[in-house]
Subunit: 315 residues, 2 copies
């Protein structure tokens, strides 16, 4: 019975955006944190009306922050992607999980003389280098092969003190063996996951294996659980809090996934808005087995444009 | 308290092979089931004294069965490998997890018109074909790449009704996406794991990622659990029982791993013998957190040679 009461309370909190609830949301929030894939764009295609909606929010004095679990790009590369689709953002407004991985090591005083093995793409290498660390692996190891012959010993660098695993479209057996050996054999070696998303919209037309795939593979070989630095862990949020000095109750996390975006916002004490332009469908939200509920939901981000207009029109 | 009593009972059951316990074991057993990697060989190198030990057991009228979770070879290819290291076995004495995957589909009346997508190596394809099924994927897809471009849709065969995942040293993003799409989008598509071993002695000098790595990757993207057909599932044992008509209490499972070999034997009601020539060390067995315990343990299989000689010598 207690379970039912609690679930009914949660469901009551979950409101569709209407002119009235949109006005309430905008009044109570100073900063919007946006997930990118499925909210701002799908693959390389900007979602309709997003640009005008961001302009509207900026014109209302809202601070905008773009938070993404995608680890393939650095903040610099993300700023370039934003510009290419016609949205102007500064690197400082971007918090991607490649940056989070580098910052996790920095905040935790990872010894500068130790190396970091990367199963992932260019973005992680760039952020690690910018933070002063020495990455190994990444795209360079994408073409390496293994030779399973007698007396052929697979060597790994004993000075690797952390393995960072993110989305890697060039995943191969070489990298899986390298990362596994570091974690199993180098004393104290950290196992850091940029995120554990099962799938992601790497292209506009369909979903593809996410970092959760590569992370699970390494969990499978090492029998260890990683430190997760992207959503829904609150590591990124602690960083945002320090940087902007806006209480989380005045922030709203906007995302398309219940298990990362909305959970991330909820864990951090933010307001939360779920959009259906990405992974989650409205029917998923209504599913009674869904434990995670946003405070607000709407079809797509640009609904805000229409709803704000309606609040201004005379009754 | 109940937990302590139970653990102490289990520990009491665990006996080192001595001349006396070896005699007891040999008297009570009609068939020996051997794991291969870490018991018979390491990589491509036969473990010392194994050949003579097998000859001795054969001379005593014991039935020998070679059970392996390695899915990279078919029974035919395994028989060839046995011959190449100097041991003569027939295909009928070999039970590998590639064969188990094909038999699982056969026993469960998998429709012959449906296809089977394979993340794994040649052995799985060969066993599937021998059983009359149509495999896709496998080594052929090892060189395929994906192009994450807008409007580039990744097609998969809608008639795939099962995805079999085993050890795959040519694992890549293409295969991970293909297998994931079949399991997520083809209604009723089965997800079959040859086994979930974390690592294995693919070469004599060191361990490498096992099928558990690739299986975990697909669990990560699909958020589903597989049907496991290799050890420690009892599917293979049910097969052996039907074939040889020897009660499991008259069988002894010999292996180097607690969590697959010994658990497999225990689950099936066999006697169990752990050897330390592979993954498990004697210190692992003494670790109080170890829940799985063999009935007998010894350093290496050929200890039986010496111990049997000692039982014959006058006091």
């Amino acid at each position: 019975m207690a379970g039912e009461i609690s679930q009914s309370t949660v469901k009551d909190k979950c409101q569709r955006l209407t002119p009235q609830t949109t006005a309430n949301l905008l009044d109570s929030v100073d900063a919007f944190l946006f997930d990118c894939d499925g909210v701002i764009w799908k693959g390389d295609v900007l979602i309709d009306g997003v640009s005008d909606t961001l302009d509207l929010l900026r014109s209302m004095g809202k601070k905008l922050v773009f938070v993404t679990n995608n680890s393939t790009k650095s903040r610099r590369q993300y700023a370039k992607k934003f510009h290419s689709v016609g949205i102007s953002v500064s690197e400082d407004e971007i918090f991607c999980s490649s940056f989070a991985a580098a910052m996790y090591l920095k905040v935790n005083d990872f010894p500068i003389e130790k190396k970091v093995y990367v199963i992932g793409e260019e973005g992680i290498l760039e952020e690690l280098e910018l933070a002063g660390f020495t990455p190994l692996g990444g795209p360079e190891d994408g073409k390496k092969t293994v030779h399973l012959k007698p007396n052929n010993f697979f060597e790994h660098d004993k000075s690797v003190g952390a393995v960072v695993v993110g989305l890697d479209q060039y995943i191969n057996f070489y990298k899986l063996q390298y990362g596994t050996l570091c974690i199993r054999e180098n004393p104290g070696c950290l196992f850091i996951a940029t995120n554990r998303d099962a799938v992601g919209h790497l292209t506009d037309l369909q979903e593809w294996p996410g970092a959760g795939c590569m992370v699970a593979a390494i969990c499978g070989t090492t029998q260890k659980n990683p430190i997760v630095v992207g959503k829904p862990s609150t590591f990124l949020m602690d960083f945002l809090l320090q940087k902007f000095n806006i209480p989380t109750s005045k922030m709203c996390m906007v995302g398309d996934r219940l298990d990362t975006d909305i959970l991330f916002g909820e864990n951090a004490g933010c307001r939360t808005l779920l959009v259906f332009s990405g992974v989650t469908k409205e029917s998923d939200l209504q599913d009674s087995s869904t434990q995670i509920q946003p405070q607000y939901f709407t079809t797509t981000l640009s609904d805000i444009l229409t709803l704000v207009d309606n609040t201004k029109s005379p009754l």
